[in-house]
Symmetry: C2
DNA sequence: ACGGGCGATATGTCTATACATAAACTCGCT
DNA sequence: AGCGAGTTTATGTATAGACATATCGCCCGT
């Protein structure tokens, strides 16, 4: 009979997960507040009757999740919670509407190809001249306008986009499936609808709109810049944050 | 001479990190697209001349970061990127203003204690009657209004809040330092300023505003609900996403 | 053809051990 | 006291081997 069978909590699946969850619980309930020193690996090891590697695996995962901080020689400490950060999901619009159980609709409003002017280069963040595609289109759910999309694609960085047909499929979906990216930045702000937006979204001029601007890069090179305009009182971005699992 | 000395890339610090970064790079550059099967552990092990535990550690971290998916017997696969999710930092307002190098200012507008009415209970998500504190205050940067805060605190869940003085310090900071929480939810939307908001933020009535609503729980029990209203054209929430490290 | 059972296989967990490394502490010298 | 060198200690990385477990496919019997 091995020592491993003397487990303190035999019920919770695997040992390292048990250890991880025990510690996580103590942190989340406040029993071990920020700054508190967690028992040393050899203490936990003795408590659960397991090897140090097992304890180390549990603690490493908690460290990767930023719940604890580990310092050589000093020990392991509860981190101050990352108070106000959250994972915000900004899904692909088509998938988002599908998830709501509504019928997705798409209309291309305009699509032009041109040599980038100063405003285009500014928006994409490129310095040298390049060709771009500028697209304006509309997404709808059950035939109700859902969002207006205004996109710029750098043709030098994404040459395949010249061959793509955005009359039927939205450029977002096409890009997601064809172009790998390495960095993305989102900015969220609010504006009021001008006449053009109001008409496109079928809302009143002066109504609030939520704007999401996304820039995408591949190894530092700008790929695309997109501006999504949502009716602000009907649409909300929701982010939920909780302890792991 | 041990096999371990035949390492493919001796320069990058530790072995498992080298392996992890090599794989991450291939995924991020698109060399291994979503759905691609990553070499089996024993293949990677042979390639780097190391033990399986080392490979396993690298792959486990990538799996924890959702870059890959591991399936017993089948192998390890590149996941479809979490395309449009991003870590959105919604910092403590005082810290945010401080980080911008501007002077933080705070004014308490009103603070009332009462038994929760139906609207309060609805907003907090509690069913049974309880006492609450309702606070309205304003944050400013260099004496320019920055955001209006409208907060409800459940006194049954946070009894200490009854003793706190919110005349000088904002309730957000106090709560962050005194109350551990386990879950939080943020919702972002846009509204137009009504007369009260316009006056508080020193903007025109009808101007767009960004609204962040945050609900915080501790083990399922609602603690506080807060609504932050920002001038929408001046304030943006920015989230940047990139590969780890 | 169809479905059940079974073996092969890749990942999942765990052990016992070893040496590396960073940082905190001790102690002795000036 | 102040400072630098050496020691101690907790974590960090790595190993070789073992057994567990999910599941994909194959084969076999009906």
């Amino acid at each position: 009979m091995s020592l491993a069978e003397d487990r303190v909590k035999p019920g919770a699946g695997t040992l390292y997960k048990t250890i991880r969850q025990d510690i996580e619980r103590r942190i989340l309930t406040g029993e071990w507040p920020p700054g508190h020193r967690i028992p040393f690996e050899h203490e936990i090891m003795a408590r659960y009757g397991c090897s140090r590697m097992t304890v180390n695996k549990a603690l490493s995962e908690l460290a990767q999740a930023d719940l604890i901080e580990r310092r050589r020689r000093a020990g392991t400490f509860v981190r101050r919670p990352q108070f106000l950060s959250a994972v915000l999901k900004i899904p692909d619009i088509r998938a988002e509407i599908g998830a709501l159980g509504r019928a997705y609709g798409y209309q291309l409003i305009s699509s032009t190809r041109r040599t980038a002017n100063a405003a285009d280069r500014e928006r994409l963040g490129v310095k040298k001249p390049c060709k771009v595609i500028a697209i304006r289109c509309r997404h709808s759910a059950d035939n109700v306008p859902f969002a207006i999309e205004d996109r710029l694609i750098d043709l030098d960085a994404v040459p395949d986009a010249a061959k793509a047909d955005f009359k039927i499929d939205p450029p977002g979906s096409w890009l997601l499936h064809h172009v790998p990216w390495t960095e993305a930045e989102h900015a969220i702000s609010a504006i009021v609808a001008d006449d053009t937006i109001a008409e496109g979204l079928d809302i009143a001029t002066g109504a609030p709109c939520l704007v999401i601007e996304r820039h995408t890069w591949r190894k530092g090179q700008p790929l695309t810049a997109v501006r999504l305009i949502y009716p602000g009182e009907q649409h909300r971005l929701v982010a939920r944050f909780r302890g792991s699992e």
